[in-house]
Symmetry: D2
Subunit: 125 residues, 4 copies
């Protein structure tokens, strides 16, 4: 398992996504709510999925697509409004957090093989 | 137009919906965020729509259903966590707010006739 | 009262604020949730308030600052992810919506006089 | 590290918190958004903290209180509106997720000793 306490550097990431913090992202503590950090992760994940063509497909068993099965976030520092963030993503590790995403058969509920083109787009090999 | 500054009383409403305030509904001012009040209105509106069978239907022109076209909210008092609210709804006026909802042809984008059974459920006559 | 059905044009607005729509702003209808439109209004309102120095002040009676007392939104069209929006604001009227904001004595709960510099910044006269 | 794939049973938890799913908690996939699951965890965490007196205190170095430093969630099943959930919490492990919470010196940014009464309330010993 990756040690999230090591700080990856910028070249480690395959894709970056800008996030403009909204005033409403703050909670009663006056900082960005811990839950909202996960919406930032969602934004980069969706942006990355769109960029590599990782959207919903119609396979032999019905609709297929990505689904988050697990995610972890390590809060390294508080974030305050106003702020412009850049969230980086790479396969199997995300800066400041980790999301496990499966390729799911939406209609059947099973997890089919990841299509070869997606596998290549994700791993770069 | 209804004067929202008159305080309607409990018997004026056709339907009530409980809302449990969440800690995360608060913003940096330490009170329930003004935007979240509209989520409370949405909750009662959906609950009411489900109760009277006002969901999506397949009509001759495709899928039809409700859509909010306008809404107004008057903030009479601040709300703080923790709180249990009851939000009342009645046709053409909501306690503390007002939503204009049309019956929409989702696929065609037009506004067809409201089905007679719904009209009766909404107005009680 | 302003007729919101007349479409104001770009020169009518004093201040513009960019909003990057997030995937998570969509609801189960697949469009930007009606509640989230109010978060966009909040963003421009806060941005405008910061730009004109309309933040919390310590007056003779305690802390003073703006508070929304009423707001209305007319949904002219659906918004879908992805989208980059610009939200305009002007005093007493907002494109697609209207917010009534008072200058509030936070500690006392009263509404003191608006400081002269703010009045000028808001109205431009 | 706890194996989250073992399903703890009801007696394993010290505290339960009811969550009423809101329609607006759903996203464009038509299920409860993955981010909102963390708001449910937040709700039980705050409820538990309030129940055991784990709120902000003024210590020798300033204000002290809890702060989330890390959290993990394993999505075992999709959740749909409408639903009434019960979220259980126990120290060091939460059903379906895990949050690491520290006792923080808000003003100094350090992590002081957890007060003895809190330590006892959390661990039950």
């Amino acid at each position: 398992m990756t040690d999230h306490r090591t700080h990856p550097t910028r070249p480690d990431f395959r894709f970056w996504w800008p996030v403009t913090v909204r005033w409403g992202d703050m909670d009663a503590m006056g900082h960005i709510n811990n839950v909202v950090h996960f919406q930032y992760l969602e934004s980069v994940r969706i942006g990355f999925a769109d960029a590599i063509g990782w959207g919903i497909r119609t396979g032999s068993g019905g609709r297929q697509g990505p689904a988050v099965v697990s995610q972890t976030y390590h809060y390294r520092r508080q974030v305050f409004y106003p702020a412009e963030l850049e969230v980086g993503v790479r396969c199997r590790e995300v800066r400041g957090g980790s999301s496990v995403v499966v390729w799911l058969d939406y209609d059947g509920g099973r997890a089919p093989e990841i299509p070869p083109d997606l596998r290549q787009a994700l791993t770069g090999s």
